[in-house]
């Protein structure tokens, strides 16, 4: 169903709710009256002909009134909806008053909206009425102001710490260490032990804090507390422009930098209408699939390490080392690639490197069997994961899980196949889904199993791509990007699932607003839901099996 048809249905069911239908945008938008939002959302979710069960993204755009314009400014809150069953989606939008932006929450309709709305409150100051716990998510609890507002002025100091580099240099050193920046907001529950798991804990895969309420080893509740790695990359994107943002996207997902690169390039190319040469597409796919394997190696290996088996991790590190060497040959970097350019890639993959990749695949395929012998069917390993932290398909969709986490719950959705981009439709590969090998569908073992099998699919794609790579240019010259005012949401299938880039352009060299939709952000929201009754060691397995990495959450 196209957005226009969805609009018809909404108008029929809720007359007067749609203020405007912006069909001229790349992704058409339904502008709703703020007081009718919940009604329309409920209809969109529950109508059997629409079934938009997946809330992809909630974010805000600050649009202050221009000095010379008559039209009043406002804050747009944007909702991206999608239906896996019917393969259609739409964008909703409400315009709120800048002085007092209030809109009703949808967090009871789609649970993953909880965090999206908190972030929106944090960075843009939008109040969501009826939200269960509207507190700051990424910024410190006592921060003043909302950074993504266009008229935001950065405070000079925060608890005596200078916020600008110039001041630090002038003073010679940072003044004092700030007090605990992240408040432990929730009150401890009577009769339970409060544990701070993190921000520096071996199992949290980066600086994330979990506030645990435990009864001995059994958890009453685990509340994630994030924001320790918040560098404001989206704010930076507004300042450094389209070209300058490319290296920053590397830092959004350091284990899958090629995908954030790809997503950003895709978004800007859509805005510009640039065609990418075929050889460049092949280069992108080859680099991406290698990167996906590298990321899954780290994920599965560190899951084993979280469960106490150190050896599998180091075996996978050895394999990843070779991938890093290949990546170094391809783009000169081992971790933060900055490989993609608008209209191609930074440099071509030479035939010698292709040979090396072939050699590596020859070597790596038997290694998968070795790894399986070592850990996959190990009785202790299986019992630690099978039946632990089961996520039902409905939950997985409602909480916005993506990628291997979603597929492990039995939802066969792969952006590469289902919303094709680049040249993926030309390759034959399977979309792996959970198969309840040892326990229940959607348990931690399924997530682990899915990642391992996805590595094999990536190898298939790599072989096909290397066999079919055409001659030609790896890059077309694209002038300095200055896209006309428009909006786009581009997505790629990253190792942690859908990696989406929502970009709003305004005709300048800098994006008006950029929002990176990442898999780890939504994966974090389900932890609180799953945690009651888990054991401490299960929580470690859950975090490891969700493959959460900190910079993707905080950006």
């Amino acid at each position: 169903m196209t957005p226009a048809e969805i609009r018809e249905r909404v108008s029929a069911a809720c007359p007067g709710a749609v203020e405007e239908f912006q069909a001229d945008l790349l992704d058409p938008v339904l502008r709703l009256r703020p007081d009718r939002l919940r009604e329309v959302c409920r209809f969109l979710r529950d109508d059997p002909g629409l079934r938009l069960h997946y809330l992809r993204l909630v974010t805000g755009i600050d649009r202050p009134a221009a000095a010379d314009s008559e039209t009043p400014g406002g804050i747009d809150v944007v909702y991206h909806l999608w239906s896996y069953e019917l393969r259609h989606g739409c964008q909703l939008r409400v315009r709120l008053d800048r002085a007092n932006p209030v809109v009703e929450t949808v967090s009871d309709l789609w649970p993953d909206a909880n965090w999206y709305e908190r972030e929106c409150f944090d960075l843009l100051g939008v109040t969501f009425a009826g939200h269960p716990g509207l507190t700051r998510l990424l910024m410190p609890a006592d921060w003043v102001g909302h950074p993504l507002r266009k008229d935001y002025a950065r405070p000079e100091r925060y608890h005596g710490l200078p916020t600008s580099r110039a001041t630090v240099l002038a003073e010679g050193r940072a003044a004092e260490v700030a007090p605990a920046m992240h408040d432990t907001k929730a009150q401890p529950i009577e009769g339970y032990l409060r544990l701070n798991m993190g921000p520096h804990h071996p199992a949290t895969h980066g600086v994330i804090n979990f506030l645990l309420e435990t009864d001995g080893e059994i958890l009453k509740k685990a509340t994630p507390d994030v924001g320790y790695l918040h560098r404001g990359i989206e704010k930076l994107a507004e300042q450094v422009g389209y070209v300058g943002t490319m290296p920053y996207t590397d830092r959004v997902d350091y284990l899958g930098a090629m995908f954030t690169n790809h997503g950003w390039a895709l978004a800007v190319e859509k805005l510009l209408g640039v065609e990418v040469p075929r050889r460049a597409e092949f280069c992108r796919v080859i680099a991406s699939e290698l990167n996906r394997i590298a990321s899954h190696l780290i994920s599965t290996g560190s899951l084993a390490m979280d469960l106490g088996a150190f050896t599998p991790f180091l075996h996978w590190i050895r394999e990843r080392e070779t991938i890093n060497d290949i990546m170094e040959r391809i783009c000169g970097a081992r971790l933060t690639y900055n490989y993609l350019r608008f209209g191609g890639v930074s440099r071509d993959i030479d035939p010698e490197t292709l040979d090396k990749i072939k050699h590596w695949i020859d070597h790596f395929e038997p290694m998968m069997d070795e790894f399986d012998r070592l850990i996959s069917s190990n009785e202790i390993f299986v019992r630690r994961l099978a039946g632990v932290a089961v996520i039902s398909p409905a939950d997985a969709i409602a909480y916005g899980l993506v990628g291997p986490n979603l597929r492990a719950s039995g939802v066969a959705w792969d952006t590469r196949r289902d919303e094709p981009y680049s040249i993926y439709p030309e390759f034959a590969f399977d979309v792996v889904t959970g198969r309840a090998v040892h326990g229940t569908l959607g348990d931690a073992y399924d997530r682990y199993d899915c990642r391992l099998r996805e590595i094999k699919e990536s190898l298939k794609i790599l072989r096909q791509a290397m066999a079919a790579i055409p001659e030609g240019e790896a890059r077309v010259k694209v002038p300095r990007p200055k896209p006309a005012a428009n909006e786009v949401y581009a997505r790629v299938e990253g190792p942690r699932g859908e990696c989406g880039f929502y970009v709003v352009s305004d005709g300048t060299e800098k994006p008006y607003r950029a929002r990176f939709r990442t898999g780890s952000f939504t994966a974090m929201t389900i932890i609180e839901h799953l945690s009651p009754g888990l054991m401490l060691a299960d929580l470690v397995a859950l975090i490891g099996s969700l493959d959460v990495i900190a910079p993707e959450i905080d950006r």
Binding site: P202, G308, T322, F381
Partner: protein
């Protein structure tokens, strides 16, 4: 007469020219000799725990396809000394909010528990610090001291993670002591004595004289004991008290420098102790095939020393082999969850070990030692043991061959990191 009294008497006779039985200062000389013996045992613990740490890291390196420590001394053999010196020079931090006396005393208590066990270990025909007549009971009692030390460390650190580690280790050690004690009870039943030397003397040098191959129940009891002992030593897959990915580092998280090293020291010494107990209780200890202990005792001079050295070597080889097994298990398996740990103990190991005690009792009553049925039983068990060894060797060989084919294929190609081979 054990070796300490022997040496003391020799000293008194040769140096003081007195009769040990009537001389008034015999006790003093004995005390000095015991002191020297204790120092030697301490040195043995230190010198053994050190290289074991190096060996473990080298084996881990080999298993994990990396090199491991190879810088200090040839192939890194002196790494443990360097680590020791480093830890010695580190600041001994005590958290401000810690319970100071408990925090400071805990490592020593843990170490004492481990070190005390060495007193009754029968290293050779006459080499044992003290052949107590309650040997096994003493072993079980003194190693329980470790629990107190770990709990003290966990509580005294005033850190929740350390407390988790301490409580986990208390629950684990107390639970696993039950099956290990029951398994050792089987040995005591067969030997008819609690003395460690008595247990060794009740076995023989040949495998069919070992307790492990005496009957099926003893065979099972050996594996039960070995499993429970790994759990008592906080080794993978039972290393929950120091699970770094769950509770950061467990009871020793707040420790630094030498105090921290004492915990590791105790851990490595404990591997040796559990291997030694398994060796003397089930695998015939220092018994030399073909020569009875009485014959050794009857020899004189260099011949006596030679037999002693051989018996010592045999015991060391058996125990060291088991140490290797423990290390290999550690670097291969993941860790159990805490409820699975308790289920393994109370639902499986405890009832099974009780069953083994019953079985051994029944067989003691039904099958007289030295009779035809006894010989058949022992023969069958040795056969079973050989079959187990053979099957595992074949499996290793098969896996090894598959990998070797693959490595040969890849050898010399670009971007190929071969799994590291020991020199």
């Amino acid at each position: 007469m054990n070796i300490i009294q022997h040496v003391a008497n020799l000293l008194i006779r040769s140096v003081f020219h007195a009769d040990p039985a009537s001389w008034p200062w015999t006790w003093l000389v004995q005390a000095v000799v015991i002191g020297i013996a204790a120092f030697l045992a301490f040195a043995f613990v230190a010198i053994f725990a050190g290289p074991v740490s190096w060996i473990e890291r080298r084996i881990a390196g080999r298993i994990q396809s990396r090199i491991g420590p190879n810088r200090v001394g040839p192939q890194g053999v002196l790494q443990w000394l360097a680590d020791g010196v480093k830890c010695w020079l580190k600041e001994d931090l005590v958290p401000a909010a810690a319970d100071r006396p408990l925090f400071l005393a805990a490592p020593y208590l843990v170490f004492t528990g481990m070190f005390g066990a060495f007193v009754v270990l029968p290293f050779g025909a006459q080499v044992v610090a003290a052949d107590l007549n309650v040997g096994i009971l003493y072993l079980l009692a003194i190693t329980s001291l470790v629990v107190v030390g770990l709990l003290m460390a966990g509580w005294g650190s005033n850190s929740k993670w350390a407390l988790f580690g301490g409580v986990r280790s208390a629950a684990q050690l107390v639970s696993y002591e039950v099956p290990s004690a029951f398994s050792l009870l089987c040995v005591v039943l067969l030997a008819g004595t609690l003395s460690t030397q008595g247990i060794v003397a009740a076995q023989g040098g040949w495998p069919w004289d070992w307790f492990i191959f005496r009957n099926p129940f003893m065979f099972a009891a050996f594996f039960l004991y070995f499993t429970a002992a790994i759990a008592e030593g906080n080794r993978t897959p039972f290393d929950l008290p120091e699970a770094e990915s769950e509770i950061v580092a467990g009871y020793n998280i707040e420790y630094s420098g030498m105090r921290f090293l004492f915990f590791l020291f105790a851990e490595w010494a404990n591997i040796w102790i559990m291997a030694a107990i398994s060796a003397f209780a089930f695998l015939g200890g220092w018994q030399i095939p073909g020569i009875a202990p009485e014959q050794i005792a009857a020899t004189k001079g260099w011949e006596f020393v030679g037999w002693q050295a051989l018996s010592w070597t045999i015991f060391l080889v058996k125990a060291t082999f088991l140490v290797f097994v423990v290390i290999q298990i550690r670097w291969t398996l993941p860790r159990l969850r805490v409820d699975q740990l308790m289920i393994t103990c109370w639902k499986y190991l405890v009832p099974l070990s009780m069953l083994m005690v019953l079985g051994v009792l029944v067989l003691l009553a039904l099958v007289p030692e030295g009779g035809g049925a006894d010989t058949i039983l022992r023969g069958a068990m040795v056969g079973l043991g050989l079959a187990v060894v053979l099957v595992s060797a074949l499996r290793v060989r098969r896996t090894f061959r598959v990998d070797r084919e693959h490595y040969r294929e890849m050898e010399g190609r670009d971007l190929w990191y071969p799994p590291y081979r020991l020199p």
